[in-house]
């Protein structure tokens, strides 16, 4: 350290200034970040959307869709079929769909998949997808487009998708004899919502069950058969990862087409919808290319279908600037909130990680469960004809594509259906938060007394001087080399100690001091061991749900309950045990410098994590940064022997620290959320509802992480939890003030 830094370090101007202003500066940066974020909703700070891809030629072609009649017929027949045969069953009418698609001269296949539920009693679910391929008549099957609709049974609590399926079939009937398709079109009906979609996509891309989960097999160069470190081999009977690797068996597809360029997911429960909600958020906050989103919005306008994106409705255009800003902000904010959990809000979201751009078109009525749209009652209702026209023009535009979507943005926020905020515009707000942390880290760094440093060293030097002066009368040799470093000095003193009696007392004192300095010098190994241990704990917690649910299953507890309470127990245990951990791995007490260094490392780690996550999923990174920056700014090394006020403050800090514990934060936010949804409920009901919601949320995030490769749970346990633990350690361990030495 000493070698790398300037010897006149402490007195350089910027260091002095930094030491003075770092607190208000960090606060300013934090506020600046929030202000920046709010400003993004304003028209001055975001841009009008535009097409980057030339090949799309959106809306140039006349529409010939003439399948309104057949769509109605399919719709009625489908509903009839469901009522007749599937009223009390959740199964999909596979024979009917296969028959209809065969009649349209599509290549029809079914696809079976199996889910071995990884938690609890390991139930097995099966499902079937039906898909028909329309082969492009004048070219080879190298590329494909996908039109999909999820199947929902009559008893489903969600809106049905019968009209979507009927429209899809009618469109297939219309498209089959056309000669201009340059890509195959796959018409796909999936069962079990996202599960069926996931299974179909994995099967389509050849990810079989033996190829491990997605993030282990695609994310790395790992291939089956490579020797890996397996704890199970070392300790038979103990499996850290459980069997969840093979939980979804996607099976095999009997018929394939080419590489999929884009996908459109249809969720229409009735043709008489008022408007279309275009849903874009995908797994882990991934978004489809902005060109596809623009395309859908533009062609909706052209086909005369009303459309919306969250709070932005195509039929409402306010002239008031303030209203515009607020609308823009809330649309953007809604999008951010929806992306945090990384759960796709439709089947389209699973396509994104395969590099396929996809959106969901959801039909909505004036009084929709998803929320009321202003003035939607007065809108003209859509018909199969209009929806068909919209679908046709979207697909013909996609048909013109020559390459995958790559021209426009992949990272953006939408402030309206026609306004966007690019990554270059929103990242500064996240960067400001991280800079606040880094400023704090830098200020800590410059205020750490350097190793073998002036403060303590000066004292020893003075002592030696004194000693030497005393000795001067007796011996000549001692006083000359006082500027040497400690061991040398020690040797000198030792040499002298034989013949000098009066200096005895001072000498022993000096020895003790020297010993203390030796021990208190920073031990990177000790800090590193603690750091590593804490992160290993995080990793273990990440893998704990399977074990917890197995334990719970023995006592017939539902897995969400056992996992939830198991995680609470682990957290409580960690809260008590972790402040002691640093003492276990070392002999001496932890010093102020060491803890400061830990704090610096922690700040750097946290800001890096926020930026790295924010690059992929901005909302998640931003929220983590927003929650943890205040904690990072208030947490500082606690020194023993403080005044009353500061100990009160310390308690407050610890309470804040506890509040942002990932588990606590999730539970609290669920309680607040249920309070917003059901404001009239009494307190305890609200708490219970919040607890249940948190239970569900955690369970979903675990299952999502296992089946779909959602990061949220892994990130929260393996990265955030260790960071939090170290914060907790810093605020719980009291150290000697450096001045006392």
């Amino acid at each position: 350290m000493g070698l790398l830094s300037d010897p006149e370090y402490g007195s350089v101007k910027w260091v002095i200034v930094l030491k003075k202003v770092h607190k208000p500066l960090s606060l300013l940066l934090y506020i600046g970040a929030l202000v920046w974020f709010i400003m993004l909703g304003n028209k001055e700070f975001n841009n009008e959307t535009y097409f980057s891809e030339n090949a799309l030629l959106p809306g140039l072609v006349t529409n010939d869709f003439n399948g309104e009649h057949s769509a109605k017929q399919f719709f009625n027949e489908f509903l009839q079929e469901l009522e007749d045969k599937y009223e009390f069953s959740d199964a999909m009418p596979v024979p009917w769909l296969v028959a209809k698609m065969s009649q349209l001269h599509l290549e029809v296949y079914t696809h079976n998949f199996t889910l071995n539920y990884p938690l609890g009693n390991e139930q097995v679910y099966t499902g079937t997808n039906v898909y028909g391929i329309l082969r492009a008549p004048r070219t080879s099957s190298l590329e494909a487009l996908v039109v999909t609709a999820p199947y929902r049974s009559l008893s489903s609590h969600q809106k049905g998708t019968a009209a979507g399926i009927a429209l899809m079939l009618a469109f297939a009937k219309f498209a089959r004899p056309q000669k201009y398709w340059a890509k195959d079109i796959i018409f796909l009906i999936t069962e079990h919502e996202q599960l069926g979609m996931q299974a179909w996509l994995e099967a389509y891309h050849g990810l079989h069950s033996d190829a491990e989960t997605f993030h282990t097999s695609l994310g790395t160069f790992w291939t089956p058969g490579t020797p890996v470190f397996d704890l199970g081999k070392l300790m038979p009977g103990f499996s850290l990862n459980g069997d969840h690797k093979k939980c979804l068996n996607p099976g095999k597809l009997k018929g394939r087409s080419g590489s999929i360029q884009a996908a459109i997911n249809l969720e229409f429960h009735t043709p008489k919808i008022k408007y279309i909600e275009v849903k874009i958020e995908g797994l882990n906050g991934q978004l489809p290319n902005l060109d596809l989103v623009n395309l859908v919005h533009k062609l909706c306008v052209k086909s005369g279908v009303h459309h919306s994106f969250r709070n932005s409705y195509s039929w409402i255009r306010s002239r008031n600037k303030m209203d515009d800003w607020m609308n823009g902000f809330w649309t953007m904010f809604d999008m951010v909130i929806a992306q945090i959990d990384g759960v796709p809000d439709g089947n389209h979201g699973l396509f994104h990680r395969f590099g396929i751009e996809a959106v969901t078109l959801e039909g909505r009525e004036a009084t929709d469960p998803a929320g009321k749209a202003p003035r939607a009652q007065a809108l003209s209702t859509a018909t199969f004809y209009r929806l068909g026209i919209a679908l046709e023009s979207i697909l013909r535009s996609l048909n013109n594509l020559l390459e995958r979507f790559h021209q426009s943005y992949f990272f953006y926020l939408l402030a309206a259906t026609n306004r966007f905020i690019s990554i270059g515009q929103y990242m500064p707000s996240l960067c400001l938060l991280c800079v606040a942390m880094l400023v704090k880290a830098l200020s800590l760094w410059v205020s750490i007394p350097q190793e073998g440093d002036d403060d303590s060293d000066k004292k020893t030097k003075e002592k030696t001087k004194k000693l030497a002066k005393e000795k001067h009368s007796d011996s000549e040799s001692a006083g000359e080399e006082k500027s040497e470093d400690t061991p040398l000095r020690l040797r000198k003193i030792k040499n002298n100690s034989d013949d000098v009696v009066p200096g005895e007392k001072e000498k022993t004192e000096l020895k003790r001091k020297v010993k203390l300095t030796d021990e208190s010098s920073m031990s990177v190994v000790n800090i590193g061991a603690n750091y590593l241990l804490v992160h290993l704990i995080g990793y273990a917690v990440m893998n704990s749900p399977v074990i917890l649910s197995h334990i719970g299953a023995k006592y017939n507890l539902p897995s969400e309950v056992s996992v939830f309470y198991g995680l609470i127990a682990i957290s409580v245990f960690l809260i008590f045990i972790t402040p002691v951990v640093p003492r276990l791995v070392r002999t001496a007490r932890i010093t102020h410098e060491e803890l400061s260094l830990v704090n610096i490392l922690l700040l750097i780690e946290l800001s890096t994590v926020c930026l790295a996550v924010g690059m992929q999923n901005f909302p998640l990174g931003f929220v983590i940064a927003m929650l943890y920056t205040p904690l990072a700014l208030i947490t500082s090394v606690v020194v023993k022997g403080q005044s009353r006020l500061s100990s009160v403050l310390l308690v407050l800090k610890r309470v804040i620290c506890l509040l942002v514990h990932p588990l606590v934060a999730v539970t609290l936010s669920m309680i607040v959320f249920s309070n917003i949804l059901f404001p009239e409920e009494p307190f305890f009901d609200m708490m219970a509802r919040g607890r249940d919601a948190a239970m569900q949320a955690i369970m979903f995030s675990i299952v999502d992480s296992m089946i779909y490769g959602n990061w949220l749970f892994n990130l929260a346990t393996a990265v955030l939890l260790p960071i939090w633990i170290i914060f907790w350690q810093i605020s719980c361990i009291k150290v000697d003030s450096p001045a006392l030495k």
Binding site: N54, A55, L57, L60, V61, T62, A136, P137, R138, T139, Q178, K179, Y180, W181, A182, R396, N399, N400, L402
Partner: protein, 347 residues
């Protein structure tokens, strides 16, 4: 050759003696082109379905020059993509240049000389300069001479100082100017009419420095060349503005018409084209208002009917060389594979 030159010389002296009596203006005979054949090089440099209009452009010009009399053997047609057979084309095997779809410009007798990826900068420059590989078929060679008038038409996507070929390379205006200079030095042309329809098209002819080139472009530097209209049945922009108006003009031109090049320059006023048509005439010696358009777009040979008897000089008879009747067959042998003579000389 000798004969025709001589004939010409006689005619010119006669004409010259006529004009002397009218004072010192440029003799009318000099205003006339003295080209003996016409060629056309028509190039579409861009591929992909959304560039359908460029193929329609070039095929429309092809159709016009063919109608005006340049035979297929003297037209080099370069088209970088096959729009007619594109699977996206709802009218397979046809290309139209108008939303009314009356004329299929990809009709019965279209001879494409360079197609697909053969349309490259290298091939284009080799074609112009004549530096083609020896096994190149005649249809892919520009077999011009010092009496050739060449029409060069380029369309595609351009920028300031370059024209993009395919999606991978581009020719710069300097390269093009140097190629034309090489043509001049090799006596490969008499006059060139350079016509280009791209964005910032005029930047392509600014670097020209060889004589006898007349150039016009659809837009000036800094301007975009725009498309004319959409054929919504096919779903593409079907033709570019400049070429559309050029065609409108050319449709009324026939081999005997007296339209001049300066009329041609005025076909697309800014109100119609949106871009400004650029013209460069400083390299061209004749007055464009007196140059008939058929000098470049047609293949109208100058025929002069003379009633006067022509005094043909007696051509001296060739002397018969005394031939060596006894043929000694030369003895042929292979050279040694290793150049031994070199080695021996050094030893």
């Amino acid at each position: 050759m000798y004969f025709s030159c001589k004939l010409y010389h006689v005619l010119l002296t006669v004409a010259g003696s006529f004009s002397l009596s009218y004072g010192l203006e440029i003799p009318k005979e000099f205003q006339n082109s003295n080209h003996s054949n016409n060629w056309a090089v028509l190039v579409d440099t861009s591929r992909f379905w959304f560039n359908y209009r460029h193929v329609a452009n070039v095929l429309s010009i092809y159709r016009s020059v063919k109608r005006l009399g340049i035979p297929d053997s003297q037209i080099i047609l370069m088209i970088s993509d096959d729009m007619a057979c594109n699977p996206r084309n709802p009218r397979p095997a046809t290309i139209f240049n108008n939303a009314h779809e009356q004329i299929n410009v990809y009709g019965d007798d279209v001879e494409v000389d360079y197609r697909g990826y053969e349309v490259s900068v290298e091939n284009f420059v080799r074609l112009l300069t004549g530096r083609v590989p020896p096994d190149t078929p005649r249809s892919k060679r520009l077999l011009t001479d010092e009496g050739s008038n060449i029409l060069i038409y380029l369309t595609g996507h351009g920028g300031d100082g370059f024209l993009k070929f395919q999606d991978s390379e581009e020719i710069t205006s300097q390269e093009l100017a140097d190629a034309l200079e090489q043509m001049w030095q090799k006596r490969r042309y008499n006059e060139i009419f350079f016509l280009i329809d791209t964005c910032q098209a005029s930047s392509m002819y600014e670097k020209f420095y060889s004589p006898n080139i007349l150039a016009t472009a659809s837009s000036l530097v800094g301007e975009d060349s725009l498309s004319h209209h959409v054929d919504s049945a096919i779903g593409v922009y079907i033709i570019d503005r400049y070429t559309y108006y050029v065609l409108e003009f050319l449709e009324n031109v026939h081999p005997n018409s007296k339209r001049t090049m300066s009329e041609f320059f005025a076909v697309c006023p800014k109100s119609a084209c949106i871009s400004t048509v650029g013209v460069r005439r400083d390299l061209f010696k004749r007055d464009p208002s007196k140059v008939p358009i058929t000098d470049f777009f047609g293949s109208v040979r100058k025929v002069i009917i003379t009633t006067d008897p022509i005094d043909i000089l007696e051509i001296p008879k060739r002397k018969r060389k005394a031939e060596n009747k006894t043929k000694v067959i030369e003895k042929r042998e292979y050279l040694p594979q290793f150049p031994m003579h070199l080695v021996q000389s050094t030893v």
